[in-house]
Symmetry: D2
Subunit: 291 residues, 4 copies
């Protein structure tokens, strides 16, 4: 029953149309196949009629047969017409990070991946700038790709990124302050498997130089929002938000500086939730089962 280091849990994440008895059916199969549920969370959205569940369980003993359980779950998921993922917690996501000149989020993600704080494999960093702009970063064994936008042909550059993502069989793309606006086609392609981070304020400010707008309005809190990319770049389902207090002493420069700290913290948390199968897209919103 314990989550010890020698007993890696399995995670089953399920999203499907709600119907009576789903929980009983799923947990019944896990039980019959020798799994002990260590932690589970369900959520049933009354508006969308969707059901979401994350179940962490460990094998109860030597009789546990992963293949048979997997087959039975697959059949059940097919019956429920469910989107699901079933993996042991130590199966690492393959992650591509897109970055531009500002590297505070990139640096933080690379550090967390290297130290195991985030259990993921960064299989590529792609930038529209050459590696020389990241003089202070240690990429270690992570391949760096400089894909500039040539002759203003953004789609050509995006196709290079797409091809790389496919070649590398990447599960997740992280826009780590990537300052290119994605085309609708690329956004659609990345739908639900790409996390973006941007600044956020109460109230919201549209348009350029949002920290300057926030400064001029005298806000007392600044924040950041991590969300999935959908067709509408900055409007996809929110995963994590956080804020920090600021004051009249802050100039746009210090707001930007404080914003950087919030951005990297919020993005790291959103990535953690994603790779731990804690987030589900639910129409325009998300379901997040916190750690």
């Amino acid at each position: 029953m314990t989550i010890s280091k020698t007993e890696i849990p399995y995670i089953l994440a399920v999203a499907c149309e709600d119907r009576p008895g789903i929980v009983a059916r799923i947990t019944g199969v896990i039980f019959e196949e020798g799994g002990n549920i260590a932690e589970s969370q369900q959520f049933d959205d009354s508006l969308s009629g969707r059901f979401f569940s994350r179940i962490a369980f460990t094998p109860s003993g030597p009789g546990f047969d992963e293949a048979r359980l997997r087959a039975r779950l697959q059949a059940l998921m097919a019956e429920f017409d469910a989107d699901y993922r079933f993996e042991r917690a130590d199966v690492r996501r393959r992650v591509v990070i897109l970055a531009s000149k500002q590297d505070h989020c990139l640096a933080d993600l690379l550090y967390r991946a290297r130290t195991g704080d985030l259990a993921m494999d960064v299989v590529a960093v792609v930038s529209n700038h050459p590696i020389s702009v990241y003089g202070s970063l240690n990429f270690g064994s992570v391949p760096f790709h400089h894909f500039p936008v040539l002759d203003g042909d953004k789609r050509a550059q995006e196709r290079r990124i797409s091809a790389l993502i496919e070649t590398l069989n990447a599960d997740l793309v992280i826009l780590a302050r990537y300052m290119q606006i994605l085309s609708d086609e690329f956004s659609a392609e990345l739908n639900g498997r790409c996390i973006n981070i941007h600044h956020s304020f109460l109230p919201g400010f549209k348009g350029a130089r949002p920290y300057h707008q926030a400064f001029e309005r005298g806000v007392k809190l600044i924040g950041a929002t991590a969300h999935y990319v959908t067709g509408d770049l900055d409007e996809g389902p929110i995963i994590v938000q956080d804020v920090e207090a600021v004051s009249h002493r802050d100039l746009p420069d210090t707001l930007v500086r404080k914003g950087r700290d919030i951005e990297r913290r919020v993005l790291a948390r959103a990535v953690r939730y994603h790779i731990e199968d804690r987030v589900f897209v639910n129409g325009r919103t998300s379901v997040v089962f916190p750690d």
Copy 2:
């Protein structure tokens, strides 16, 4: 599937020794008897070997038979040797509030009960001071009892409170800044059904005048902790904690004033979690399923 106003959910809260298949058994019964699970959270404590579950569900249709479901759940809970509570969410707890001169928590709880923000019935307020010290409060129809400690016989006073609690069939006792130290006997009697609030600091300060100690140490955060009363008055399982920033400008007076706001906020949240069956005592700690 929806939690609408016309469809009050049932809440089943269960704590028992963990064993394989508990979730499947419980959700199976609910399903078979026509309940649709709207939200559920489970937790399985690897150290204590205890299992905790809170399930909110609604009747799926006209065939729902509450009495039969109740009987089946009772049998299942007996089999699991479980502590459990099974009620519709609109069954209100009967609450006795103990207070002393400081009435910020009392005022807040009375207001929240009156307006329905906290779905509970305050069946009595007991104080070791006369009602005249609460000139600013509106008790409405809530009976007020002045039970002073006479001739230093605290146990006699506590026995009056105990008798009142029993007579009123109260489920919950709230120490709303009640400044009497409870006897070991009274604490034991209230074990698990009494919530206390006290100030808290990083680091902790023992002894008298903690805000003065915190001031002398120059802390930058002050906080409050709501917890269940056990034999050890200020050491019972923690339910809610929160903090607020303070500075060198604060004097002990302003620390106390800021502390009041944190105390009433933390206590109200802890009471909400309790009356919504979101809290389980787990040895020295607690399991809290947040709203």
Copy 3:
């Protein structure tokens, strides 16, 4: 040098065009007239060219002559063409509260005024609803005025409120969830001496039912903003903002309920800052010297 109870400090709050030597001139006068500065904060806005200062000081001894100091400060402030306020900290503001049906902010302000937590005199509560809707409130000795909007003539009702404010010689008007949109004339009249509270989100949502919009967008934080009323009702200089975490479990109803707690907390803090002369309007923004 100490701020003791027997030695009430004086507060000098100054806003004027910045020029070299202001601080030296002001503190020089205070010093020469026997005042000891206990706490002071200055701020010099590089964009607006405005200077702001709050100085708390206590008389250094029996030779202190308040009248002479007041005269000298008056002359200095005239020279600087300054907006200023100079009073002992125990001179209470006269406050009129406007309220509608939702009384969580009203109840909190009345409680804080009664207990001295907020050092102000509530000289009137005005509502567009009769007192019967506030069955749960204790107005104590605070006069209640029911000023309904008759025949849709909002200006007539506003003129009654204006007349009352003038008659009562009120310093501050608080919109405690007052659900009437103020006319431009009334807003202009209250400019800088009226505090409003409203919900706030990251990102902002315009239009009706903002909590429903926030719910549909799946925000993870909800907040509140207290600000001064200007011609643009919800866009005046911000005084205080705060947020609280919410989740996919929250329905619009629970968002509204959680929002209430944030609103009353943010409004109470903004009122405290105002009555302690800690807030200065600075064009579209504000300068806030925290406690």
Copy 4:
């Protein structure tokens, strides 16, 4: 009057015994010598009788004579028997970082120094472990020193560190999760110019494995405290504290992981406050003028 990039402000930080007229005298000198005060904060501690001030000002024009101002301030500070620092904001502190195996704080400080987020020069990193344990870090041009404790002679190792600090003319020492307990002699030597970071809880836990103790007690918040080192290693004046919510789901491992994020954030903020002359030791406490 503006703090622009071409006009670096001067910072004057003063601590002395309080006496009437200090502010007027200091600001008078600055004004007479052609300085325009951009921001200033004072604090007067009624208990200790100490006065603290931080003044940021810019030269008002070409007539500004830094040398003459410096001389006059020196004379004034001597008269007040003051501890003070007077430098342009772009004069960087020379910092030595001590680290052990855990490198999350070290990595963050190195990144912030490299990118200019923290305006300081890291002149050495000293560890009791060899550089090979920091495989994932980019030290850039920062010299790394491996000073192991040999034959249990900690004082010998400390003397090596002391000599290095002296040779490098370092202003500040940061214990970035340095897991050696400093001797009383070394602590005393570093008094007031060394910042330490440690975990903190409500309530406090003494002794080994504090995260395990916090886990067993079921705390709902964990935190970190940055403070100056004094003779009493973990009890020096507090500079910054912060907390984060945790839950019953957290195991000691995840508490430690979450604690790391709080530690690095709190330490970075404390270092920023120190190098921007925002912190003053005041007996057992500190005065912090926030940014």
